[in-house]
Symmetry: C2
Subunit: 229 residues, 2 copies
Amino acid sequence: MMTGWEDVRAEVLRRIRARDWAPGAVIPGEETLAVEFGVARATVNRALRDLAEAGLLERRRKAGTRVALLPVRRATLDIPVIRQEVEARGESYGHRVLARRMEAVPLAVAVRMGVAAGTALLFLETLHLAGGRPFAHEVRWLNPVVVPGGVIPDFDRVSANEWLVQNIAYTTGDIAFSAEAASGEEAAALGLCAGDPVFVTERMTWAAEAPITFVRLLHGPGYRLRTML
Amino acid sequence: MMTGWEDVRAEVLRRIRARDWAPGAVIPGEETLAVEFGVARATVNRALRDLAEAGLLERRRKAGTRVALLPVRRATLDIPVIRQEVEARGESYGHRVLARRMEAVPLAVAVRMGVAAGTALLFLETLHLAGGRPFAHEVRWLNPVVVPGGVIPDFDRVSANEWLVQNIAYTTGDIAFSAEAASGEEAAALGLCAGDPVFVTERMTWAAEAPITFVRLLHGPGYRLRTML
DNA sequence: TCCGTCATTATGTATAGACATAATACCGTC
DNA sequence: GACGGTATTATGTCTATACATAATGACGGA
């Protein structure tokens, strides 16, 4: 029975997979489908919109809805706070602040953050532990200007990661992942050998056009970032 | 003026960021907000649902809507066909099939694919080129059973990646990313030295409970997987 | 033939009203 | 006080209708 927008979505998806509707072809309009399925147009709209958001349909006003020719698969990644990530593995979380000082940002970071080269920002180096063993190495530049009240904690009790999520949360930003060879210092911190491959996450965070923080997070071998399609 | 669900979403987001509504706190109900904003409840619902999908609100029937305590940031990754990815960089795409044969799957792959150990699947090894230079090295096991008509092309003209998207598309699956050291063979294919860090993408694809394909994709240094928050 | 204008059309969104559902909170019983 | 059933309630969804918007395609003038 076709009672709900998820049923409509399932049936539309079935027809796409079964090639009843060929890739690139225009599918019937919402009104037509609504009549066929015996539901309101709004219900069909909800179903088709959902499939369009997933990248399987392409919709344009007046032009209609067509099956995506080369569907770009869209995966959603959850970016948890590191403590949660560790605890989700059933291990105990801990962290050690290795460095915390005001420092002139290197050029590469200044460019990424959109601040003048040589600007002094708070530099933080932290080691995240899972079950007492190194889990991730974090290097962070934090813009002290944007902190409400101007009071920045020492991050001994709450990691910068978690403190930021709770205090400057609801921001925008971008993330990039890559593989690199660990430098001598990085390797030492993570208990690896220099040159070992590390999984690098670089994240830039903004709040209302103001740069908040730039983080570079290193995970040793064995780390996997997972998601469902 | 509060005329559309995006305006409602913007205002709610503003209040969350401004801490008018504290993290963890219950916000007013849909009906209340609808009256306050002068819109229908369905409009408020659309806005709040959108923010909940983004991970900023948590909604439960009867319990109401509350501001997420530790908002898990949700990033959406687009997984394009490799040819598109290369062409988007302004480089010309090409690929070479290095191996194509029926082969018993290794245990690790059999487990991941959910087939009996030793099952013979189609083994493919491909090198993807960008501007004539190695871009990615692909190792793939493909289940020939699921191919419509049973006819599998030689993938000389169209890469398996693209052929699958067009022919067995609209599937489910999962992806994992990691950093590894290149083996001698892998390094040779990509023009690297053994032990160099490579960015590894492993993807398992299913269609209606049947395993379709397992791919292991290696990108050399310099590759970055990017997304917006 | 080319080009700008305008009617057409499919999707996008808003609305009021209704019922469904899940989960809490309350209340009575033991 | 502990327990279990039930009323209450906020969200989830559907419907019918209406208008908004964008983009196409047809038409007509230069």
